[in-house]
């Protein structure tokens, strides 16, 4: 069931801003926050939320998660995939800190928490190392990330943003 108190769509950036390209999701939502995507879209800087991301997704019609992702592409290359297509990981580990997004989505599915339609917008990193800022190839990907987000939001709302 959709939560009427929440906006229909969430665009969620995840990642660690202190580790170069790992923070691409945060850089992207910081850029998106300066744009007007209308009243029905939440732009969320989720950082490294762990299982808390479930509550950000819950009750939405559509969530777009922007994250640094290793899919064997070229640095800066983007994939847009339905989360249902991802092989979900296991929700286990020594600590809460080792649990990644795929594990959290697996848990939400098992608990029958309605997280709505989740799209993963992944950007292939170039450098993951200590430091604030993106490598050139990943920084160049931000406008394409923004265009993709706007295109998906437009599709979902049935009107241009």
């Amino acid at each position: 069931m959709k939560d009427m108190t929440k906006k229909r769509i969430a665009v969620i950036g995840v990642g660690n801003l202190l580790l170069g390209d790992e923070g691409v999701g945060i850089h992207a939502v910081q850029y998106l926050s300066g744009l007007d995507l209308g009243d029905e879209v939440d732009i969320i800087d989720a950082a490294v939320p762990g299982p808390s991301i479930i509550y950000m997704l819950e009750g939405r019609e559509l969530s777009i998660i922007i994250d640094c992702a290793d899919f064997g592409g070229r640095p800066g290359e983007i994939i847009l995939a339905d989360s249902k297509r991802l092989a979900l990981g296991e929700f286990k580990g020594f600590s809460l800190h080792g649990i990644s997004l795929d594990g959290v989505l697996a848990l939400a599915k098992e608990l029958q928490i309605d997280v709505g339609h989740v799209l993963i917008l992944g950007v292939q990193p170039d450098r993951i190392e200590v430091g604030i800022g993106l490598s050139e190839s990943v920084a160049d990907a931000i406008p394409r990330v923004v265009d993709l987000v706007k295109s998906e939001v437009t599709k979902a709302l049935g009107k241009a943003v």
């Binding site: 580790l19 950082a47 808390s52 290793d70 995939a81 020594f94 809460l96 800190h97 029958q112």
Partner: protein, 433 residues
């Protein structure tokens, strides 16, 4: 009869940066190697903050850890405020304490519900509990959800607080919002009891292992210290937070790129058990009842009881939050604009976060630019204690099956709720064929 030969190597290789491994090798019935090894990225904290201004540091350092971001923010702010002599009024200190309780509740409910329960139930992950114990799991999730709402309300968002700034707050919750939060905290009693009852049924699954060690935690005269206090030890006299280096004594060991710490013994422990051991009398009456139910009395030297200490702290954090809200609402609650006069100086901020005592230490120049910094996280302080526990525990469990030995050693590490790889998490994409 124990194993004559045994070769256990548990690799928990996280995505990129850090990992913790357990190695136990037995030959001809003799332990040849028993090692908890941690490989973390070289310490980067100083490089991250030196050259940045006092307005930026708490925002940057809150990003170190997604689970403990409120604690990092508060340790950072307290270091800055101590360095510049910035005073925070009593109301805003209460709000900050509320934020810390929110983080403690978030972290403990997740750890106990999602990582410890599967161990005690003998299942590989939390997933099977969704069908075998749905009510208990949902209760743990509701506590976690409430804790998230609490953090959102006080800090501006669930992780990486925006509202808390040097000298106080940029924005505070309304009276009505605080009253609503109080009602939800009171209503969480049933969920807490549900989770506590399940743990009570499973209490015999916690190994009865003990090894004497030192426990270090903040301590105070008036309350169960989380936000500030003296550095307390179960072995020695308390000292002020700015003398923390006398307690931590960081040193390098061969099996780890993370530094180890020690005080008067070879190792010490920080975290919920250390806090309960040091400050038991300051727990809320209801939290003490839970401790008594599980036979947790100070000084408890069983590291597996850290899980129960977390359960006790869940109750304490709820009760103390209700008390804090009552105090906030009984005074003339209003917004105070922080006043900051930038000056050169050095300051230390010690704050209790879910995994134990966290230190931030900054030196600023006269323009408020950071020129030196240090940070010691709780997990680094626990590494040596995990190693010593493992050395003491392994010989006592050699008569168990290999699978049981592996599980027991993993449970030991998990009991410390370590922060091994919080700094990176990125997605490895594999498509379903």
């Amino acid at each position: 009869m124990g194993h004559l030969d045994l070769d256990i190597n548990i690799h928990h290789v996280t995505r990129v940066e850090g990992h913790g491994n357990i190695a136990l090798n037995v030959k001809n019935g003799k332990i040849e190697k028993c090692e908890w090894s941690v490989v973390e990225a070289p310490r980067f904290f100083e490089a991250m903050v030196v050259g940045r201004t006092w307005k930026e540091l708490h925002h940057i350092t809150s990003r170190i850890c997604g689970i403990c971001s409120i604690g990092h923010t508060l340790a950072s702010l307290r270091a800055t405020e101590n360095a510049m002599g910035i005073k925070v009024n009593e109301q805003d200190v209460r709000l900050r304490k509320l934020a810390l309780h929110g983080e403690n509740l978030q972290s403990h409910s997740l750890h106990l519900g999602y990582l410890v329960l599967p161990d005690l139930m003998g299942v590989g992950s939390v997933i099977p509990l969704a069908s075998t114990h749905p009510e208990e799991l949902k209760a743990a999730i509701r506590i976690h959800r409430l804790a998230n709402e609490m953090s959102d309300l006080v800090c501006g968002r669930t992780t990486h607080p925006q509202s808390i700034i040097p000298g106080g707050f940029a924005k505070i919750p309304s009276k009505e919002e605080l009253m609503g939060l109080k009602e939800r905290l009171i209503a969480s009693s049933d969920d807490v009891n549900t989770v506590a009852n399940l743990f009570h049924k499973l209490r015999d699954k916690l190994p009865s292992f003990e090894r004497e060690t030192e426990f270090i935690a903040l301590t105070g005269e008036d309350e169960y210290a989380m936000y500030s206090g003296l550095l307390g030890s179960t072995d020695t006299e308390s000292i002020p937070e700015e003398r923390y280096l006398e307690f931590t004594n960081e040193h390098i060991v061969p099996q780890s790129t993370a530094k180890y710490t020690k005080h008067v013994r070879e190792s010490y422990m920080v975290g919920a058990l250390a806090r309960v051991n040091k400050n038991y009398e300051k727990l809320s009456p209801r939290a003490k009842q839970i401790a008594e139910l599980f036979g947790l009395k100070p000084v408890c030297h069983n590291p597996f009881m850290n899980n129960i200490a977390q359960l006790v702290e869940i109750v304490h954090s709820i009760d103390d939050s209700i008390r804090l809200i009552d105090e906030l609402l009984s005074d003339s609650y209003r917004y105070y604009k922080p006043e900051v006069k930038v000056r050169a100086g050095r300051g230390v901020g010690a704050v209790e976060v879910p995994r134990g005592i966290l230190f931030h230490d900054y030196t600023y120049d006269e323009n408020g630019v950071c020129v030196a910094a240090n940070c010691i996280i709780p997990t680094n302080q626990n590494h040596a204690n995990i190693q010593k526990d493992m050395e003491a525990l392994a010989p006592r469990i050699l008569d168990k099956s290999k699978a049981e030995i592996e599980l027991t050693l993993e449970m030991l590490v998990r009991a410390y709720d370590p922060c091994i790889s919080c700094s990176t998490h990125f997605l490895k994409v594999d498509f379903v064929e």
